[in-house]
């Protein structure tokens, strides 16, 4: 589909979507610590408004309408916010997960200090990821990409302990450097072909560049990719991710599920599919290295995860591995593979946020931070443990959880793309995932806790009536149910898979 055929409508709605989280962000900074109710209203109001907007926009956008808001940034380059399928896909994820994470965070930070600061930056972080979703060109993308880096720093450093500060510093060093490399790549590309607007199936000028100056086009691709790979945590640029684990649980949840790493892979989707176009990239020969990189990351992340005793550390390396699925999917010229990659953006988000919520619950309710401390928790916190189990099984890729749907698409796609060996990687990854998740599940439900553990319940009758504060438990259960539903109802209309397929088909024309 050429841009000419798509009715582009100038509209303020994309801007309003952005403002739905920016406004609360700004207002919250000015609130006093004890204005809890107003802050909660602002937070939830913004989050609900955004979910509503996304739901409202999906049918027309799927119907072919594109809503766009433009403002000149520098002469010749516009700030473009555009609602099109992929952007809504990502914005929808961020909207929904923001909502649940906000609820979780409200529960998590009950009584904690510096809540205005936290929620302010939290909303800013979501603003940035919405902006990334809606960006219609690379410069806009870049702006929100960096905003995301900056807005996340105070969240990672939130606890202000030396470890938190060190972790945040590593995070910043990695991501800012990545941002600079991205800037270089984008500037280079712009100087070669002018401002690049994301177009389904690739941009014509870029295709011409690839034909006329393949070496330069490859270098530009590599530069932009390197910039994105830092956030996407592709090996060997993943080092920040485990260190950023010092962040409070809601932050880790958001970081791993929708904000930072997702921004990276989302950018890779934009790069391959909406800038170069899959066929052009294939012809250029840049996809195979990308695929190999993704495969290495998938396996490496899992192997490292095996050795982590800290729950969050294990989850962090798991993210390294899982997010590379998206990269893997978009690096294969196949509608199925692309569908699998794109849909994993949402699926991994749902599963991983559940896991982090659960990790947060274990830490908050029972002060458990290590896998080795988990035996017997299932009896004390059955719902949390169940949510964890559902998400973990999904991560392994077992049906009917969401992870299976992604893996299935990726597997079929890799065969379609003539890269059947990728199936081996997928299988290996699943085995490794099983190897580091199943022992946790096993410990939760079947092992008995060590002597002298305060919270241990011998019989389920002894369990307290409430296993955890509702505001913490509810989001975990909701996202677990969503992760299950995304798999069970994968083939339903407007399900993530349906949308992802729609997006992938647009990209292949």
């Amino acid at each position: 589909m050429t841009p000419g055929e798509v009715p582009v409508q100038n509209d303020l709605v994309p801007l309003v979507m952005l403002l739905a989280s920016l406004t609360p962000a700004v207002l919250i900074f000015f609130l006093r610590e004890e204005q809890v109710r107003l802050r909660t209203v602002l937070n939830l109001g913004g989050a609900l408004a955004k979910v509503g907007l996304v739901i409202w926009l999906v049918p027309p956008v799927v119907g072919g309408t594109r809503l766009e808001w433009r403002s000149t940034l520098v002469p010749g380059i516009d700030l473009v916010l555009r609602a099109e399928p992929l952007s809504l896909f990502f914005a929808g994820l961020s909207a929904v997960l923001w909502l649940v994470t906000t609820v979780f965070a409200i529960g998590y930070f009950e009584q904690a200090p510096h809540r205005s600061r936290f929620f302010g930056f939290f909303s800013l972080c979501v603003t940035a990821s919405t902006g990334i979703a809606l960006s219609g060109n690379w410069v806009t993308f870049l702006i929100f990409y960096e905003l995301l880096t900056l807005a996340t720093y105070p969240l990672v450093a939130h606890r202000q302990t030396p470890e938190a500060l060190a972790g945040a510093r590593t995070y910043l060093a990695y991501t800012l450097t990545g941002g600079v490399v991205l800037l270089l790549g984008v500037a280079w590309l712009t100087s070669l072909v002018g401002p690049v607007e994301f177009t389904d199936g690739g941009v014509e000028e870029v295709a011409r560049l690839a034909q006329e100056q393949p070496v330069v086009a490859t270098l530009v691709f590599g530069t932009i990719l390197t910039g994105l790979a830092v956030k996407a945590a592709l090996v060997p640029l993943h080092g920040w991710l485990p260190k950023a684990m010092v962040a409070p649980a809601p932050v880790s949840a958001l970081l791993h599920a929708v904000a930072v790493v997702k921004a990276g892979v989302f950018g890779i989707v934009r790069l391959v599919h909406h800038t170069y176009g899959p066929e052009v990239a294939q012809a250029l020969g840049v996809l195979l290295p990308l695929m190999l990189l993704a495969c290495v990351t998938i396996v490496y992340g899992s192997v490292r995860a095996l050795r982590q005793d800290s729950i969050k550390g294990r989850l962090a390396y798991s993210t390294v591995s899982q997010v590379a699925y998206v990269t893997l999917g978009v690096s294969m010229v196949s509608v199925l593979a692309t569908t699998g990659g794109v849909v994993h953006i949402v699926h991994q988000g749902l599963m991983k946020i559940t896991l982090f919520f659960c990790a947060g619950l274990f830490a908050e309710v029972l002060s458990l931070h290590k896998v080795s401390e988990l035996p017997g928790v299932g009896r004390r916190m059955p719902l949390t443990s169940a949510a964890f189990t559902v998400a973990a099984l999904g991560m392994i890729g077992l049906p009917p959880m969401a992870g299976f749907v992604s893996k299935w698409q990726l597997g079929l796609g890799s065969i379609e793309a003539g890269q059947s060996w990728v199936v081996v990687v997928l299988v290996l990854s699943s085995l490794l995932n099983a190897a580091y998740f199943l022992p946790v599940v096993y410990a939760l439900w079947l092992r008995t806790p060590e002597e002298g553990v305060q919270w241990h319940v011998e019989q389920r009758r002894e369990r307290p009536a409430v296993e955890a504060p509702k505001a913490l438990l509810l989001p975990a259960v909701v996202t677990a149910v969503l992760a299950l539903a995304a798999g069970l109802l994968a083939a339903a209309p407007y399900a993530p898979l349906d949308m992802a397929r729609f997006i992938a088909e647009l990209s292949y024309g």
Binding site: R117, L147, L176, L184, A187
Partner: protein, 493 residues
Amino acid sequence: MSDLLAALVLVPLGAAVVTALLPARAAGRVGLVVALALGAGSVLLALEVGSSGVLEAALGDWSIPLGIGLRADGLSALMVLLTGVVGAFVSVYASGSAAARGGALFWPVWLVLWAGLNAVYLAADLFNTYVALELVGLGAVGLVALGGPAALAAALRYLFVAVLGSLAYLLGVGLVYAETATLDIATAGQRLEGGVVMVTALSLMTVGMALKTALFPLHAWLPPAHSGAPAAVSPLLSALVVKASFYVVVRLWFGLPGADGAMAVATLVGVLGAVGVVWAAVVALRQTHLKRMVAYSTVAQVGYLFLLLPLAVPGLAAPAGAAEADAARLAWSGVAALVVAHGLAKSAMFMSAGTLARAHGSDRLDDLHGAVTRMPAVAMTFALSGVCLAGLPPTLAFVGKWQLVQAALAAGQWWWVPVLLVGGLLTFAYTAAGLRAMFDEPQRADELVELRPVARRMVVAPLVLAVLAVALGLRSVELLALVEVGSVLGSLP
């Protein structure tokens, strides 16, 4: 409107006299009112130049060259606007604390300085520029000296440097006059035919101005002067005063084109700037005091500005439509954005540093622990201005840096690109080092120094400027269009 030009120079001068005579309290009030009026006036000028083009006027009855001619094109208007806005905010800030002003002489000296700055930007000929520069230099030195005994040595050094720079400039002016028999830059530019004398004059003036702008390695005077000055003075020096001499460099290079060997000099200056960007940033990283760190940051940022010369000079002689001409326009627009961005952000940063130092009783990084929680708005200001200085999107400096990168690529001088990018990273590195100190929270509350109260306006004024520096990044088209009014390069496509 010609009255406006004159007023922008004469009103602060007059007000300086008035405030010098009035008792401190009344002087403060008058000073603040005048500052706000000047701010408004500068906005007015920018609007006027933006809508109706270049303005000219003559002071007194003598005609040029003996009389004092005033001229405002887009660049002048932009610089006056920057001075007006930053000046007004810093004045508000200064009115918040006597200690921040450093003494009763603050208002008169600052107003003299303001008059000098406006005069530099509005002066129509080379000699008036010299006089205005001296006014700026004396005002600036006077302000540094308000910093007390500790700042006195720095002020004295600054005085020698400033006068030496001016002398070099004056010598250059003499040479130009000898060649062209005119002091009007435009006329001189038309009469020039190049040659060794011309290049020598340009080189002399450039080095003189570079000395006053603290281009690496001529910057050693700046850190002690800027960090030793009172809280309300440092932002003025860093954000505004160094820009005046840079402005003169720009005027010279764009007004006196065509000299052989100019490109070699421009490249050399560019290299010095580039080295300075990295050098000063690295040194800034090792500072233990916040204000010194910010001062070194100025040295680094100044380096960026000088990249304009190598990027734009080839375009001056190139035919319209050539890649070099495009590069020159991009560079011009980019540096203008950087100048404004640095002006806003650095003043905000120095003001926030001053507020922190005032509240904590010291600007030692180790004394600032816990500032993020105890003075969140000030820490936020510091962070925002650091983000802007680093040129991260969506700030105004990003727009400038983006255009410079594009210019470097368009001009085929890709080697400046890493400097621009790494410089940004290093900038953020020292900002982060500062922030980290503020984030550091000791285990026990009694390990924190007791905070002294600070006036609310000392918190709000810098915050507003920092937010402005960020927000302008999203909408800077009008601002950038302004610098194209009357520019020799024409406007961007």
